[in-house]
Symmetry: none
Subunit: 241 residues, 2 copies
Amino acid sequence: MRQVRTIRYRDIAADLRARVEGDEFTASESELSATYSASRVTIRKALEHLRSEGLVDSRQGFGWFVAGSTVRQPLAHLATIEDQLEAEGRASERQILDFAFVRPPARVRSILGVDKALKVRRLNLADGEPFARVTVWCPEELGAELSRSQVQERSFYELLPVSFGGATQTIGADAASADDAELLQIPVGSPVLVCERITADAAGTPVLIGEYVFPAHRTEFTVDLAHPEASIGPSGLRLVE
Amino acid sequence: MRQVRTIRYRDIAADLRARVEGDEFTASESELSATYSASRVTIRKALEHLRSEGLVDSRQGFGWFVAGSTVRQPLAHLATIEDQLEAEGRASERQILDFAFVRPPARVRSILGVDKALKVRRLNLADGEPFARVTVWCPEELGAELSRSQVQERSFYELLPVSFGGATQTIGADAASADDAELLQIPVGSPVLVCERITADAAGTPVLIGEYVFPAHRTEFTVDLAHPEASIGPSGLRLVE
DNA sequence: AAGCATACAACTATGAGACAAGTGCGCACG
DNA sequence: CGTGCGCACTTGTCTCATAGTTGTATGCTT
């Protein structure tokens, strides 16, 4: 529909939707009013619109926030793959391949903002069969307290004295490298799911980087989306160059 | 010779009809009055004529707008890959490969609960390059109104007169089949991301099944998790047998 | 009869501002 | 050291103003 008049609040709502899904949403109505040069009435209309979509919510005297994030129970158990396997009644096991403090690759250095980190490389087994090759990077400072046997027994979520905030998970596919193929007992070049998970603490500083490689024939991800629009969309699929 | 005088408002109506159908309708009565050098009365007569045909509609104090397209606007924000590409400033395009009402495979039949369905197979292009092969299944009843050109132009979210509820997305990896390899211009057997998205209506009944195949080297998914525990965990990774 | 010119009412989106009510945080006070 | 108070800031909800729009009526011209 093309109105005669430009409806400002729709444009603003569209822009805000992008920001919300890009997780760059930190502003009050008056701030937004200033940045968009629109009155609070208009900003509110846009926000209410987003609220009706279930994207954001507000509390009087507190502010607006991305819906779904703060509503969750704060003390729930952190979900790891192992938890899940155990819930399904499978025996899960970790086999540590590497445990060392090293200078990580540039990408990891820049994300974690450190020059040295603990690198743990391990193989995850389910019912005795390998199903994931995992590499976890953790800042030297945080990893200093950890021992090799600890990381074999427990997850980083359990071990680190950090209150975790959010995480960003990236899911892609690749062909198995020779190393991974041998570890996972699959043919070289067969498809694998590659996931990178960057976990931040409550303050939003990245504290853990995990790279997971799963053989494609055994694994898949499912994501339940309460609202399609809030979903795999903007924060979702991305073309890489 | 009888009608010496031309009936202006009919000409104007004809001209406006062309503009409306070309979706170039952005003007108020007074603006139109200026551009056609006709009085508002005449313009109104023309517009009323178009209204009687159901082409346009108006609301007092708001303006005139193209009728029918109002229905698709509230749904237009549903996140599709195309929306995202456009937001990034890329040209997105659909190329329909198949459009047929067929008896779908057992899995689709059981999910949708129907025996016959519209199957649309298409290729998605970004900047002229193929980046996804998509197959969408939609119950016959719902798909009956759709035309091949419609599904080429717009997404199912925009086209179907359904209020959508949630969706379940499954992400896996596979090796490219010969067909897909050719369509996506990648080597046979190279890794691809395979996604299945089951979209339900507001009542929770599945109404759409989409299968998406992306070449792995160009695509990846990102999922932002406000809290790790609420994440990929419970509904997340799954071992398939 | 078709069109022009004009006026006015009703409505809409937006702007500007005021005030109430709730929240979080720091600071002084005991 | 704890506790309560006040302050700054936020949303929620009004009122009033304004420009632009459609709805409608009236009188006039050709």
